[in-house]
Symmetry: C2
Subunit: 236 residues, 2 copies
């Protein structure tokens, strides 16, 4: 079982949870082996990478529904028939993306090491970890957020449960701090949803952060500090 290293940095995060490059595509391949006609990983990995990254590029610019498989075929240089050796259907492709991301989030979230930290450091680990993950898997998050309506009912609900679970994790951390007498916030539930949304902004409002020249660690620090500030302020 992986766990957070002592040092909090995106490089340490990258080394701990390998969420990109060949290992990622290998995981995609393993997860969807049964839905594909291709059995040889050597051949599959490269094409999977092309299919997924091109889907992100097309879907994130014109929308997944508006993207045709002809577009995807042209962009990937894989024929229409060829595509269908890798995906069962167009909806299947969207479902696969959601599934892979959810699995990755689930892995990282189930990291037990975080729980043993004191409230402030636990909060820090959660926030920085989530920002790093958003940063690394940006297109996946962006896709899942904006194409959620096209997913199946089960997948939509799973995504919502995931978000509620994340909120809960924050609430528990806040509550631990309140119990320890460090924090004094009373609107814990609302504050948790707000922190979650601040984190989501990192992949949703990329255009704005680019415009402002905000860096990853700078933003993570901002989310951490404002949340902490709200936990310590006594409102009215």
């Amino acid at each position: 079982m992986n766990q957070w290293p002592a040092e909090i940095s995106i490089d340490a995060f990258r080394r701990t949870w390998v969420l990109e490059g060949e290992p990622l595509w290998r995981r995609v391949f393993e997860t969807h082996r049964e839905k594909m006609q291709i059995k040889n990983p050597q051949i599959a990995l490269g094409n999977l990478e092309k299919i997924f990254t091109c889907t992100f590029r097309l879907a994130n610019s014109k929308g997944f529904q508006a993207m045709s498989l002809r577009d995807l075929s042209r962009e990937t240089d894989i024929s229409m028939g060829g595509l269908y050796a890798y995906i069962g259907s167009k909806d299947d492709l969207a479902a696969a993306i959601e599934e892979v991301l959810r699995q990755a989030i689930d892995d990282v979230m189930s990291d037990q090491a975080v729980i043993s930290l004191d409230p402030v450091n636990r909060l820090k680990a959660i926030i920085y970890g989530d920002i790093y993950m958003n940063e690394i898997m940006h297109p996946w998050y962006y896709f899942c957020y904006l194409e959620a309506k096209g997913l199946s009912r089960e997948q939509r609900e799973a995504a919502m449960r995931m978000e509620l679970k994340f909120d809960e994790r924050l609430r528990d951390t806040f509550q631990a701090g309140v119990d320890a007498g460090i924090f004094t916030m009373d609107k814990i539930a609302l504050l948790a949803t707000n922190t979650t949304s601040m984190l989501q902004q990192w992949y949703l409002k990329r255009w704005k952060f680019q415009l402002m020249g905000t860096q990853t660690d700078e933003y993570a620090a901002f989310v951490f500090e404002t949340t902490l500030c709200n936990l310590k302020c006594s409102l009215d």
Copy 2:
């Protein structure tokens, strides 16, 4: 020129800026008169209302791209041919929705009365006003946010400019407070984007607020108070 009344409440807001019911549809009719073949307002208003509200219902559940005009025809009880007497094309319908909302926001945002208030009350007026507006025109906001990618380049840019303008309005208010020695925040730009995003949550995460049982004024108060708290906290 309309302006905010002394009292801050959703009822007062409703009376000041009439953003629903017949006056709204009349405005939609006036704005798009030239694109429609129907000239008689008596007949048009009712059908426009049906077309727009059904579009919201369909698009907000399956997505605008996935919604077919046949779906819309069935839902509105207007034939395919009939629909085309009201809209120039499917894209046209989406464009019209964005245009009407943007016009409405522009009207409310250009309210000069807010500027004369002291920083704290100005902030309060901006936040409560925006929440009330999100509440009243919820389907319009939700549609425009999630279907932004389907809009024309010009409309997307106009929407982004609108959001930047809103951020700027918040920043100016923050800065006024800093200059007056009331606030001590240094990350003004990031805080402004965060307040904007908290406000957007009110229409984006409706499912969650319903689950938590959060009321409109309660949420507005939360946004106001946490923003104020961040403006007064000194983050080391």
